[in-house]
């Protein structure tokens, strides 16, 4: 099949370059823009829940503050630090790819994954405590006090929002696993490391969502 190429001939084409692109620069630009547009859809997706939260928080301000007192501030704070650190190791991984240090790249990717797993582990501990305290919405929900229903609504948002965030973390760890495998097999070079950059964008986005969730859920009652 004849393939007409604009800027480089067939023999010059790098293996990572898909046939419908002219050069690596165009391909990389497309991948980056694609991820940014995807993150835009993610903002709108989480935006629906943030809107719902904002509405009910303004209507049931007292109950929501009450509910937030039942969250574990210590574990939440540790998790915030863990997640911000994972963003740092992600950036260092991108840098290692830029300068072509494969072992460092694999190391930082593994470290990022590890921090992500620590976050999920601590989240599981928190969820278990809520379950034991009968604070999971549904038929098992038990809460004494005049605002029981509204507190349950608070916990609906708590589990909905942090659950959706955790799902994104799990997907992110899956993506990192693929990257580690590819990096191990030496698929990246200072010329081509687009996948690491765009997974990095995703990881930072998930991190930023938590930066909004943490004060909204954990800190509102404690000024």
């Amino acid at each position: 099949m004849p393939m007409v190429l604009r800027r480089c001939t067939l023999s010059e084409r790098p293996a990572a370059l898909a046939p419908h692109f002219d050069d690596i620069a165009q391909q990389s630009e497309a991948s980056h823009l694609g991820m940014w547009v995807f993150l835009l859809t993610e903002i709108m997706f989480f935006g629906g829940m943030f809107t719902g939260y904002a509405v009910y928080r303004s209507v049931y301000a007292v109950a929501f503050a009450e509910g937030s007192h039942h969250l574990d501030l210590v574990l939440g704070s540790i998790n915030t630090v863990v997640l911000i650190s994972s963003s740092l190791t992600m950036v260092l991984a991108v840098h290692a790819a830029q300068v072509g240090q494969r072992q460092l790249l694999v190391g930082f990717l593994l470290l990022t994954m590890l921090l992500g797993l620590v976050f999920l582990g601590l989240k599981t501990v928190e969820y278990t405590h809520k379950f034991a305290d009968h604070l999971v919405p549904g038929s098992g929900f038990l809460y004494a006090g005049p605002h029981a229903r509204q507190v349950q609504l608070f916990f609906s948002f708590y589990f909905g929002m942090t659950g959706m965030h955790a799902l994104h973390m799990i997907i992110g760890i899956g993506l990192l696993t693929v990257l580690v495998w590819l990096a191990w097999r030496n698929r990246f070079s200072p010329m081509y490391y687009t996948p690491i950059e765009i997974v990095g964008l995703y990881w930072h986005f998930v991190d930023i969502v938590w930066i909004f969730l943490f004060p909204l859920l954990y800190l509102i009652g404690r000024h």
Partner: protein
């Protein structure tokens, strides 16, 4: 080169077999996968409408009772909106044409494109399963608390289908945005882009920004139904109206997902068949973006009687009326393009004329509905039904059919029979108006939507509407037959049967798999139809 020979190698004959199609990443083949799927779903959705129109021939409920009727209009709405209209022009014509029109070899993410079709098919499968296992009766809007608490039908299965298919339109929109930004050939600046591309860019923005909100609204309904978390349940402190906000935040812009691509098609047809440059290119281009942006601030006009604050209603009413400005800009510019043009009345152009007239009626009645006082009178009546069918069927479907006829020679390499084409266009136009114009009158007189029985005084208008629907049904069957016929017996089209401008006409018909034998270069504005050029077929 002899122009009337099918090229030896093209995207359709490069390889054969079911695998070659199901694992293709060629945007042109994926467009045809979509074409086959949505055509099937169109006739499924249409079948529901047939039963409804039959039932409405008489004032009593005789053919079906309320329960079945509720399921019928829900199925008709869900399938037609999410599984036909939203993917229609973008996923079929857009998929086929966006890379060709900008001189690219494929969309930016070909595998994602294939994935979007699989996601669409999976969503359709869920919804069709819900239909055959007993149906769902909430109406296509899934209003809470009925959908979340009281309905005993297959709500979860249906909303899951809609949720899943939403991701296919997100992926399509994402692919279009990235492709249009990064893959234009040298010389094809933003101000030289075909208006079809501008329309699809605006549509993609809505797909990407609106659809995720529908997704989360649906997730919340499903959570509410399964776990009773109380977000939409007043008994647990929730508010059912919140669902309407989230739902219409997507579903009103979704109307523009349906109409903007059709407007893009019309902007291609009018200059070609009037042999004139489009009048006011910049205005037509930016009015698409304006409609997309304004569309996000009008959702509250669906909720004038849903306990929304009167001040909010006033703002939403005002914003809704603003949408009329960019819409009218388009209509006036198309009309101005026709002025002193050398107009040819081929089938695609007949659909374009149909579109302009019917869209104008649909748009103007939209202003009635955006006016607060009038809306209270005609809310939830057949007036609303007639209004949005003038936009969605009179507008979007007319645009889709016009585009399908216009690009059919490019897609298949063969012409459809022109005489039959004109006849079908005429039948569809007559059938459409006879079906839906009486519904304006019915609604104004007080006939509410979603009822299978009605007072005897409405019967004449209902019979007119049902008669029109049967004509419309015949009109839709004719192209189905002759399009299939033309695959084998149609006259060989050649690369550019319409003498049209635009990069897609510079390659052979059907195009080769990588679209262009030589990468084209753009040196002139879009629609550079010369003043002396005469139409030749």
């Amino acid at each position: 080169m002899n122009p009337v020979v099918i090229p030896r190698a093209h995207y359709l004959n490069v390889n054969y077999g079911i695998k070659a199609w199901l694992f293709t990443t060629d945007h042109k083949r994926i467009a045809l996968l979509y074409l086959a799927s949505i055509t099937l779903l169109f006739f499924v959705g249409g079948a529901a409408a047939v039963v409804m129109r039959l039932e409405l021939l008489t004032p009593q409920g005789d053919l079906v009772q309320s329960e079945t009727y509720n399921k019928l209009f829900t199925m008709h709405g869900v399938i037609m909106v999410w599984f036909f209209l939203i993917p229609s022009i973008p996923a079929v014509l857009g998929n086929f044409l966006v890379p060709l029109m900008i001189g690219a070899r494929d969309l930016a993410f070909p595998r994602l494109n294939l994935l979007s079709w699989y996601i669409f098919a999976l969503g359709a499968l869920f919804t069709l399963t819900a239909v055959v296992t007993g149906g769902v009766d909430t109406g296509w809007t899934f209003y809470t608390p009925y959908s979340s608490t009281y309905a005993n039908t297959h709500v979860i299965l249906t909303v899951l289908g809609v949720f899943i298919t939403g991701f296919s339109s997100i992926l399509t929109g994402l692919n279009f945005i990235v492709t249009i930004h990064t893959m234009r050939v040298p010389g094809l600046t933003w101000s030289r882009l075909p208006l079809f591309i501008w329309a699809h860019y605006a549509t993609s923005l809505i797909m990407v920004l609106g659809t995720p909100v529908l997704a989360i609204a649906i997730v919340l309904v499903a959570l509410e139904r399964v776990f009773r978390i109380g977000i939409f349940d007043p008994a647990l402190g929730g508010d059912p109206v919140l669902f309407q906000h989230l739902f219409w935040f997507y579903s009103h812009p979704a109307v523009y997902i349906m109409i903007l691509p059709a407007m893009g098609v019309i902007s291609e047809l009018i200059p070609c068949f009037a042999r004139k440059r489009i009048f006011g290119y910049n205005f037509v281009a930016f009015s698409s973006v304006a409609i997309a942006v304004l569309g996000f601030f009008v959702w509250g006009h669906h909720m004038f009687v849903s306990s929304q604050s009167v001040y909010a209603s006033m703002v939403f009413s005002f914003m809704s009326m603003l949408v009329a400005i960019p819409s009218a800009i388009k209509v006036f510019n198309w009309t101005a393009t026709l002025y002193k043009g050398s107009i040819a009345y081929d089938t695609p152009m007949l659909y374009a004329f149909g579109f302009i007239g019917l869209f104008t009626i649909g748009g103007l009645t939209g202003l009635f509905l955006a006016a607060l006082a009038v809306d209270v009178h005609v809310h939830d009546t057949y007036f609303v039904i007639a209004h949005f069918h003038y936009i969605m069927v009179g507008g979007a479907v007319m645009g889709y059919l016009g585009g399908l006829h216009f690009w059919w020679p490019k897609i298949t390499g063969r012409m459809y029979p022109e005489g039959w084409g004109k006849l079908a266009a005429l039948i569809i136009f007559i059938g459409f108006n006879l079906t839906f114009f009486p519904q304006f009158l019915l609604g104004y007189l007080g006939m509410p939507r979603r009822y299978h029985f009605y007072p005897a005084e409405f019967q004449v208008l209902h019979v007119m509407s049902s008669a029109g629907a049967s004509i419309l049904g015949v009109g839709y069957m004719i192209p189905l037959v002759y399009f299939i016929w033309s695959l084998r017996y149609g006259a060989v089209a050649g690369p550019n049967p319409w003498g049209a401008k635009g990069l897609e006409w510079q390659t052979s018909s059907p195009p080769p798999t990588d679209n262009f034998a030589q990468t084209p270069e753009v040196k002139e504005e879009a629609y550079a139809y010369g003043p002396q050029e005469v139409h030749v077929v």
